[in-house]
Amino acid sequence: MKEPKTALDMYRMMLLIRRFEEEAARAYSLGKIGGFLHLYIGQESIAVGAAHALKPTDSVVTTYRDHGLALARGMTSNAGMAELFGKVTGCSKGLGGSMHFFDKEHRMYGGHGIIGAHLPLAAGVAFASKYTGDDGVTMVFYGDGSASIGATHEGMSLAALWKLPIVFVCENNQYSMGTSLERSISVTDMSKKADGYGMAKDRFVAEDVFEVRDRLQVAVDRARRGEGPTLVEILTYRYRGHSMSDPAKYRTKEEVEEYKNRDALNRLRAELDAAAETRAELEALEASVEAEVAESIRFADESPEPTADLLESTTYAGEFAR
């Protein structure tokens, strides 16, 4: 087993994300979580591989399918689960919810609910790094459903024009809500869009978390060297529907099963289980994930709700403008 410690760390985080979301889904069905809940289950290797390609001083921005990336960047399970429960101890004090996880300390800048609109925002974070010379790289995640909207194009156009230190990661999970890739875009190899911007590109399947890390590392290093953005399309699959209200009847059972058989989490576990030095760690590690997720549910359940006095100070810095 290469890099056994890293492999265990990555496995633990991928498992944590999956178990966190499975328990969140359960809490949702019990009415503990409201609104939308978009699960990342099946895509964990991307957030975890990405987090290992970045430095703590780098920044990330993503869509509303954001729990996995937040946890991978270092947000605590407690802060994440409490946010889902709408509690004041949540990462966004219970004001953001599932779609708006923010963690300034870990440079996780959301959690965005308007498709594509977060790409210019992320380009702005990268612009600030170039402006101040802080050596930071920004990684922005978007789905295949974001590929056609205008803001995505403008964000990429400007980032490429100004050679901003940013990596565009297209998490192609093959469905824009219920619309399959071939029904939503004329060229299904979305990495080809990079050519039009004069950007570097890459495209691969997210089955091996080490490969995700290493190939994203190439893009991150390129950005850090001042050689501009890269568009990286990563082929993946979400096992659940678009959100909790979606039974995903637009896909066949066989298709879902086929992808589950190639699950990156199971694959990594099998590798860890095959090597004696890591096999010995697995049981305790998995138990610690169960304990952490259970604790996050307890913490979220018992935490207080935000009160209305929070609303003014979170709308304006300083005096309220009315």
């Binding site: 004001l95 210019p120 702005g124 402006y131 156009s157 400007l158 100070s313 810095a317």
Partner: protein, 327 residues
């Protein structure tokens, strides 16, 4: 005091703040090499270099978003819209990102960005270039909106805007860029949420802002000749809105007309009317009237444009109506 045009006052505010704070930069279409579509940024590229005076391609959603993202991590962007009309294609960035990031993040983030550019009617630029956009934006909690009418306020409000921790939308007028006036020497800041008495009077209050302040003053002169003494309020700041100045003036005059550019349905004028009736109902001797842009997309034809845009004569008639001189 020194005399300067609005255009120079805005430029001086930008230059002083860029001098004071390395984090301040100017970004927009044609702001650098071209020296600004309306020459507001003339000379700034030479003075501050292309790192801080940045030409963009035509990508309002893109560079508005970049300004918001850069502000979110600590810079102080000034984003110029060639006109506020074009902010419509960046509306989502302003509404969903600039205004909401602080709240969505539970107060972790703030967005100290300034958006600025000319707003409302110019001269015969047609329906897509004549919008009064403030009415869309004042509705949004998280934003501040200001609209100066004089060189002194243009400078003082812009400097305050750049130093504010929140997103500020600063509305200019193409027709005011060459208007001259005295500007205090040295550090000059005008606070938000404070209106200004542009003309004192006792018979009727005319509430206005931006270009329409000058039209209101013209109407007030006509009315003075008819024996009606009007007080003209220049709001300067639309959100926050100065309720005190409204109540004080209405308590004196007991009558009000609100004159502004923009369509009659809702908007800043309707808000002013609501505040006055709520806070000073017992002081009112007549219903408040509004003088607005007529309820049509702006026509190109010069005479029809003047027909649609609020004129001094329409303000005169409204004041005569609320002072019961016209019946």
């Amino acid at each position: 005091m020194k005399s300067m045009r609005v255009r120079e006052a805005i430029r001086e505010a930008i230059a002083e703040e860029m001098e004071r704070d390395e984090r301040v930069f100017l970004m927009g279409e044609e702001v650098a090499r071209y020296q600004g579509a309306y020459k507001v940024s003339e000379g700034l590229l030479d003075r501050f270099g292309e790192k801080r005076v940045i030409d963009t391609p035509i990508t309002e959603a893109g560079f508005a978003g970049i300004g918001i993202g850069a502000a979110m991590v600590g810079l102080r962007p000034i984003i110029e819209f060639m006109t506020w009309n074009f902010s419509a294609v960046a509306f989502d960035q302003i509404l969903n990102n600039a205004a909401k990031l602080r709240q969505m993040s539970g107060g972790q983030l703030s967005v100290p960005v300034v958006f600025r550019g000319p707003n409302a009617s110019a001269r015969q630029v047609g329906s897509q270039h004549s919008h009064a956009m403030e009415h869309f934006y004042v509705n949004v909690p998280g934003l501040k909106v200001v609209a100066p009418s004089t060189p002194a306020d243009a400078k003082g409000l812009l400097k305050t805007a750049i130093r504010d921790e929140n997103p500020v939308l600063y509305m200019e007028s193409e027709t005011l860029y060459s208007v001259k006036g005295d500007v205090p020497e040295g550090e000059h800041l005008v606070p938000f949420g404070k209106g200004r008495i542009a003309r004192e009077g006792k018979d009727c209050t005319i509430v206005s802002y931006s270009r329409m302040v000058h039209v209101a003053l013209e109407a007030a002169e006509t009315l003075a000749a008819k024996g009606i003494d009007c007080e003209v309020i220049d709001l300067r700041s639309l959100r926050p809105l100065d309720e005190d100045i409204l109540v004080q003036s209405i308590s004196k005059t007991h009558r009000a007309v609100v004159a502004y550019e923009g369509w009659p349905y809702g908007g800043v004028g309707a808000e002013v009317v609501d505040r006055i009736q709520r806070l000073a109902f017992d002081e009112l001797d007549a219903p408040i009237l509004r003088v607005t842009t007529l309820d049509f997309p702006m026509p190109y034809n010069a005479k029809l444009e003047q027909h649609v845009v609020p004129q001094a004569q329409r303000i005169v008639e409204a004041v005569e109506s609320v002072t019961y001189r016209s019946v």
